[in-house]
Symmetry: D2
Subunit: 394 residues, 4 copies
């Protein structure tokens, strides 16, 4: 694969680190930036053949097979338009659009052009997430009841992100898109997200957007997704997921507690990047690009392009996430559960909660079975007709 | 202190274990149970002088200085009435009442009688909680923004708890009372809880009450409390608190990850109580009665009776918690934020959010200060008048 | 119990905190210090009736039932002599003596006087240790193969401890006594410690004693005990135990990772004592006196005095530990395995390793049984006669 | 790079998984096995162009640039001989030889032939290790005092490994080679390993080789390396490293506690490979090949071949490790510290311990500086002439 990178900032460099690492056979052949200077610096740093400040040129260059969009949110749609027109496959950073409406247009564009639209939701490609998802999908946790994802840190590096006019929002738009899609994967992409309740507030910073938010997403089968996002967290980057199923539990800690603890008095040299301090107990990760899912993400995306198959995360998923975010912002204002607007729903339409109470025998439902310390077994039953709760020792 | 125990079940035995342990100078002199047989068994087990199935007799016995109520919820009010009448100090298990209304009457009864009303909220007395609270109160975390408490397990042991008519509710009433009071302590008891949003569902069990719920409690100063409670959790008892302040973070894990890991093939003998299995990795706690706060709770309660001072957790706190639970149940039905009904509010009445943006100089607010990997400092500022966001490297 | 405290320093105050806490019925009635001033200060702080700088007076006072020795090592023997003469029960801090020889004399003194000699090895009374020991003793881990204990911190608080002439040694004498007795408990007190190999070095400090050491203790049944002790550790107090048995594993972390994480920017107030810093991630414990075992230790000691039974840790245990330390110091010099000199051995005398290979059938021993990912079972066998190793899929 | 794989077993497949993953540009073009059938199966599974049961043919094939040796220990030397003769670069699995003598010959062979000899010590390439090493080398931990590595699991999968005649030893040869090289990296490869003390025993299995061992490696600068290896561990694969320096600490947990916890009742489907059970709490890793270092290892090896530079781990390192293992086995028999035989030492020859005591002023050394809870500072000093230890409050 020959790749054009649109953008040369923080996230573009992260992507380039992943693409250039581990002797990959794919190659950055083009970089575009609105600033010709920055394009050139990036090209030098990553040994990219071509660079330009002309988007059309970048996208249409014959050495380019696939385009990676690493631009700020308001530029996603025009970039996708250019790719669709050029008939180039396109991978777009998260969130896909600034709204469900915008995301939907991007989806239509790639589908009409017949190119692949890959949604670069890296946190759905972390090694821990992939193995968790495999466990959930193979039934290891039973029926999923609740999936929570939390992302919190002391706020973004880039100044433009703090300006709502440029970024389109605060912690929800920045971090919530990850959390929403993580929970949605665990609950099942075929299950329709129905409505959203969200609390959001600006608790610390002198900004217009929210710097702290909590949201709940109800799914058609009765499962609940939860997101917790914050720009007020102190202590590094808190990146945790939790899943609760009828037969099991998953706890994932992606960053601050990964079995890697360093203490330093600070009198020696450099210890670890991204910590708020270089003294005391620090919790680096081994290989950040890998832990954040970039390697597995690009591997799958390019494999899919070659195979003509759909990647795990597509523009359709980006659209669903944007629709949920729309509902979250609406709910944060209205104070009520807001429906998720999904005109184009491609999953299950049977919205009945299929969970059925476990029958113990003709007369009773089984509420609970418990082994007592003395080895005896106790069961708690409910009469199917009278509703009476009884205990039996076996 | 000479103590009468009202009740002889699961929680009464837990209390008795705490009271009898560590060579305490306080003594159980009386036990009451509705069943004379169970009263006698309890008396034998814990070497209690007197036992009875007559509540009045238990409370009024001259050998009794203080009464501990360990009865099911509907019996709290009559028991408190008896104590107030007898002029005996009374310590009541959680939740105080089945509603704010009921809790308020219990509060009035002890205040009119001039006896101490101690609220046995043990999880606000765990050693980790007490030290956390001290850290928060001494300013170690700055201004508190968010306090979350989670309690989840595979459901109660007792059959009556699964019957909503007897227990008064599900996971919220059983576990939420802990979580609400934990968060309230961190945010500050003088800060008024204003409104509540709650999701609750019956996801697994054939019962009428909720077996899973998530709630948010807005406080007058803009802080947010959060509770997560469940009877559907698999893996043991999940008991975790998190606090986020402007200057720090606290993570407390009270049960499943306390630095005590045991693996067993199950071919040997007994390993640990309360685990769902005796094979594989197990996570016992060292001293359950201590880790759950019972020791420090009773120590403080009896000290307060002797000193004539108020304990950390009083009937007034129980009343506030009940009022919040009322709002939570209401919200779970209505789907909107419901106000907390507190006719008798004794805390701060100035409900203004006092947080002010950090001023950088006359022209700018400070959004963020960051030390870059190369050692240079970057600040992000916001113009007080124009709202423009700018970056400066120092 | 009416208690005389001999000593008024760091450890005496730790003991007093435990004795005074949780409404215990035992009471400090006397304190002795070589300095009359310090005795008086201590008496004021802990509300002790009597204080003196005369050891004989303290021990022989009629209000004293039991004596707690919290003096520096060279004063243990004379203090025990005084107690034995006075016929008072005596609890002595660790290590019991400065050598096996000295410990043996102390043991003889209490046994001849018919008083109880309790060895205050607090780390064998921590809640996690007690539950671990119970698990091991009930067979949950099968046959114990290896027990390791590690204690490391940045060095003692008191100046005299850094002077070998006063303290009698370095990290081994200070910390190793704990580790040795912990491992010995897990392996079994009836199993004879046979020989010791020890490495010790002065790596950092300008002192004569060792500030870092590693030792191995061979037991008669083939099990191995291991201690790791250091005064060079940075990051707090590292207090961990590990046990490996044929059927299971135990990992205990007593201090730095107990499910209690605090991050602070340091701009707020006080966070936690004993950390090397008050910034960054800190790991306090909930209730230090409890986590370090003082509560359970004194409870058991006084119960035993009342019941006339032997406590878990006696002067005999202190003697065995001293004998092992003697061998460790000898080995650190000689560079070879040194025998443990135990003239007075009261445990098992049959030193055969009783472990037998698991027989699979008449022809084979079972080396390993493994379930393959596809669910099939594989066994690895060894021919009893030929010694040939074969694999069988079942 | 076009790669020939010698071997088709467990480790060959692990290597192939790493080489085939993440769209690498290097390619397996040849596989050799002693069994033509197994060679063919492997070739099919990994899409390898050529396969053969003739070693010479594999090594000399024109499509082969570099040879990876994944054979059992006794075949390493002949395979290296063939590669040297063919003038092909060679990467050899661990341990390099069965003895220092054998490893030395392999080193000479590649050096004389002018080909690269890469030592496939994967655990020195795990992401956590690489970042730890960078921290240590940049001075973040000050002077390294102690480096410990532990590898323990329930024993190898392959039957031949349990037969000492085939494997050349037990847990030391299997696991100790990792641990030794890990510690040596942290302490510094230019520091000469001087002597070794080792305890080894056959505690559980009916085999001739050791299934449990502990060793200490003294380095010329006074630092100490420690290895703990076992085939008796229950609970999964325990893979932990610890480093202690004058200014800091590193704790790495590579496998069982990496922030990924799964609980399953076992009623659902498959959860995670390599666990001893599929019930209860399980601790999978996200991406095993990555966590074990294979990706970074091969990336660096091939980069070095292209650049003509030396990789981090070379045949020389393999030789040093073998020499240390030789001394360990000798010590396990003799019971004394055994010298490491290194005829060909290429590191520092000045063996003086360069650590000097910190001078406080002309009169005193600084032993310790401590900030007291009340904020005051205390220092403990030692008189340079008299040796007296004094305390000063500042």
């Amino acid at each position: 694969m020959n790749i054009a990178m649109l953008g040369s900032g923080f996230i573009a460099r992260f992507y380039a680190d992943a693409l250039a690492g581990q002797r990959r056979r794919d190659k950055l052949t083009m970089v575009y930036s609105r600033s010709a200077d920055r394009a050139q610096i990036f090209a030098n740093d990553y040994n990219v053949t071509h660079h330009t400040d002309n988007l059309e040129e970048a996208v249409n260059h014959p050495d380019v097979d696939v385009v990676v969009i690493a631009l700020s949110n308001e530029l996603h749609l025009p970039a996708v338009e250019a790719c669709a027109k050029a008939g180039k496959h396109v991978l777009c950073t998260k969130p896909l659009g600034r709204s469900g409406e915008e995301a939907k247009r991007m989806l239509q564009l790639v589908e009409e052009a017949g190119v692949m639209g890959g949604y670069l939701e890296d946190l759905c490609y972390t090694p821990k997430f992939l193995k968790s998802l495999q466990t959930v999908q193979s039934g290891g946790l039973g029926r999923i009841l609740w999936a929570k994802s939390r992302e919190a840190h002391p706020g973004p590096h880039s100044d433009w992100f703090w300006d709502k006019n440029k970024s389109g929002g605060g912690a929800i738009v920045d971090l919530g898109c990850h959390c929403i899609e993580i929970a949605r994967n665990f609950i099942g992409k075929n299950i329709k997200p129905v409505e959203v309740m969200c609390w959001a507030a600006t608790q610390v910073h002198p900004i217009d957007a929210e710097d702290n938010a909590i949201g709940m997403v109800k799914y058609a089968n009765g499962a609940i997704g939860q997101f917790e996002v914050s720009w007020c967290f102190r202590g590094g980057m808190d990146l945790r997921d939790e899943v609760m199923g009828t037969e099991g539990t998953i706890w994932v800690n992606n960053f601050l507690r990964t079995g890697f603890d360093v203490f330093s008095t600070g009198k020696g040299g450099y210890v670890a990047e991204k910590a708020e301090t270089n003294k005391g107990w620090l919790f680096p990760v081994g290989d950040e690009v890998h832990e954040l899912g970039y390697n597995h993400m690009f591997t799958e995306m390019f494999d899919c392009i070659e195979n003509g198959s759909q990647p795990q995360e597509t523009f359709y998923d980006g659209y669903v996430v944007n629709a949920i975010i729309d509902a979250a912002y609406k709910s944060a204002k209205s104070g009520i559960w807001e429906p998720v607007q999904l005109d184009d729903w491609r999953g299950d339409t049977d919205t009945t909660d299929k969970a059925e109470a476990a029958s113990y025998d003709d007369q009773y439902y089984l509420i609970k079975e418990e082994v007592l310390p003395n080895g005896e077994k106790k069961i708690i039953l409910k009469d199917k007709k009278t509703g009476e709760v009884v205990r039996r020792d076996i």
